[in-house]
Amino acid sequence: MSLRRRLVFVTGAFGLVALAVILWAPTVGSTPVSLARAFDRRIPWADNVDAQIFFVARLPRVLAGSLIGAALAAAGVVLQAMLRNPLATPFTLGVSAGAALGAMLAIAWRLDVGAVGVSSVPIASFLGSLVAMAIVYGLASSQRRGLSTNVLLLAGVTLNSFFSALILFVQYLADFAESYRTVRWLMGDLDIGSYRPILAALPFTVAAFAVFAILPRALNLLTMGEDVAASRGVDVGRAQRWAFFSASLATGAAVSLGGPVGFIGIVVPHLVRLMVGSDHRVVLPAATLFGAAFLVTCDVLARTVMAPVEVPVGVITALIGGPFFLWLLVRQS
């Protein structure tokens, strides 16, 4: 009963914050917008600049930001618990490097296989993340029954640097303009310009979150050790597999949508744990909501601090997330 009350309270509080941020974010930007005009249906759509700025330029960004922030933060929580490693991030297991490599190849080779209104770059990057996921899983499950978290970590880290080397190689061989685009892609960018990429990423994210919803009890026990979890009736191998696949899927979808936006997957889970404790039944939903609010806020800053020129959102998340996290760390100890 007390857990349920805490869950309702924490989720309610974080939900309110996230909702407030998501409602506030589309109203600010580099240009002043009249909300009354934006929602005035009597003005024809083609003439209503305010409505277009609101619905075409800002709302897709805010929605993409909240989806990516939520996915990366939740994936961070799941992977940190499953690997029993506080340094794990959604980018640790090579999934994001695979996604980045896919995007780099699509940009450098100018692949033109856009489908359902989504350009080739996000599709290629999602495929890249699936390939990386398959390689890491194959390596980690070849040794023994179930997954070896050690092999998983080492394989992920190695794959990360291997893919990073390939990325540098592709960038080096690409034309100058393409090289710049690839570098810019790696900084993260939420200006997606339409709702279609979000709709394309949504099914994968929803599937991942459906799995996240049943994981918290197993994650709580897994953090105490595989043997403890097994003795309490957790099918360790299965729980690890589900955690790995769902977190990787969420990461792949998020990265293919907005690029590898850094720091959210590591900073948000820790921040939330510092605020609400370590019970994953509370941490996971809280981190999901806080991640969404955090990235959307960072994107508002990215859009406005140097307006009309925009700062890459990955730079803002790192600049805010890094020092804030260190401050909390020092204060705690």
Binding site: T31, A51, Q52
Partner: protein, 310 residues
């Protein structure tokens, strides 16, 4: 005292010898004067002789060299050089970020054209006592001044003057025509993800692209942003509401059908006058964004695009 006397004695003897050989000496000095004169003349001439083995690491400058008749002196180019067709058979020696110093040295150039940021390469070449021609992209006026400077360095001053003068005449003609007509507010895009409104790169209020647009009679909607390139978000495009969107993306759009398909990508921004009045124009062809001798031609095309009735 004794030593002093001896010295004076020796001196006297020497003077005596000199006097007896004065005839031979004057011949010798005449000869040495002649040698000095000839050798200094050779050094003088060789110092001011036009370079015969030029390596160009900047595609725009390569085009200029060929335009002023210095093409036959070019022996190697960068890996990105495509124009004029003569360069396609020349050896490649790397480019802006990866100049191959060994290959450059092995070609034994007497002039290397470098970009301003290649400071390491410049130091290495200076150590090898190879003459440098330093270049940086700047405004439209710098194109013709660079052509003239190249003419002086390569010994083609007259032809360089003709080339630069003709570019300036053509630009002046376009400017005069543009001054008479309307000046549409224009967004000049030189990079964008295909088929989407992502990663839009447009010209800011600096550099040759901005100058070209203004010469062609357009008003740059980003003229207030003092940068060469601006990553334009959809919000910025909606807020600036350009009358014309002009895309110069020679690198990745080949056919006209593809160009009109790409112009369609802007349709979500229906309130932008350029989109509403179907004045999104995609210019196709190579070398649209090269600040070289073809710049007048591109400005003329821009003028036509900006002033043609939809």
């Amino acid at each position: 005292m004794n030593t002093k006397g001896t010295k004076m004695n020796t001196k006297a003897t020497k003077m005596d010898t000199k006097a007896t050989k004065s005839r031979g000496r004057s011949w010798l000095s005449l000869l040495s004067l002649f040698v000095i004169f000839v050798s200094s003349f050779v050094i003088f001439v060789s110092a001011f002789q036009a370079p015969q083995r030029i390596v160009s690491l900047v595609p725009a400058v390569t085009e200029m060299l060929f335009a002023i008749g210095a093409g036959p002196q070019v022996v190697a180019v960068s890996s990105y050089d495509r124009e004029p067709p003569e360069v396609r058979t020349l050896p490649r020696v790397g480019a802006l970020l990866d100049p191959d110093v060994e290959r450059i040295l092995s070609i034994r150039p007497d002039l290397v054209i470098t970009y301003g940021s290649q400071t390491d390469l410049q130091q290495q070449l200076e150590r090898a006592s190879i003459a440098l021609f330093d270049y940086r992209h700047a405004g439209l006026a710098d194109i013709t001044s660079t052509i003239r400077r190249l003419g002086g360095v390569t010994g083609h001053a007259a032809q360089a003057e003709r080339t630069a003068g003709s570019i300036e005449d053509r630009l002046a003609e376009v400017r005069a025509k543009a001054a008479a007509g309307l000046r549409p507010r224009t967004l000049l895009v030189f990079g964008r993800e295909r088929g989407a409104l992502r990663n839009i790169y447009a010209s800011g209020g600096r550099g040759f692209l901005h100058d070209m647009l203004e010469a062609a009679g357009g008003i740059n909607v980003f003229a207030d942003i003092a940068r060469e390139s601006v990553q334009a978000t959809t919000e910025l495009v909606l807020a600036r509401a350009p009358d014309v969107i002009l895309e110069v993306r020679s690198a990745d759009i080949e056919s006209d059908a593809e160009a009109s398909r790409e112009a369609q990508s802007w349709s979500p921004l229906a309130s932008v006058p350029a989109v509403r009045n179907r004045r999104v124009i995609v210019l196709t062809g190579q070398g649209l964004t090269v600040p070289g001798p073809r710049v007048a031609e591109v400005v003329e095309r821009m003028f036509q695009a900006l002033h043609r009735t939809p």
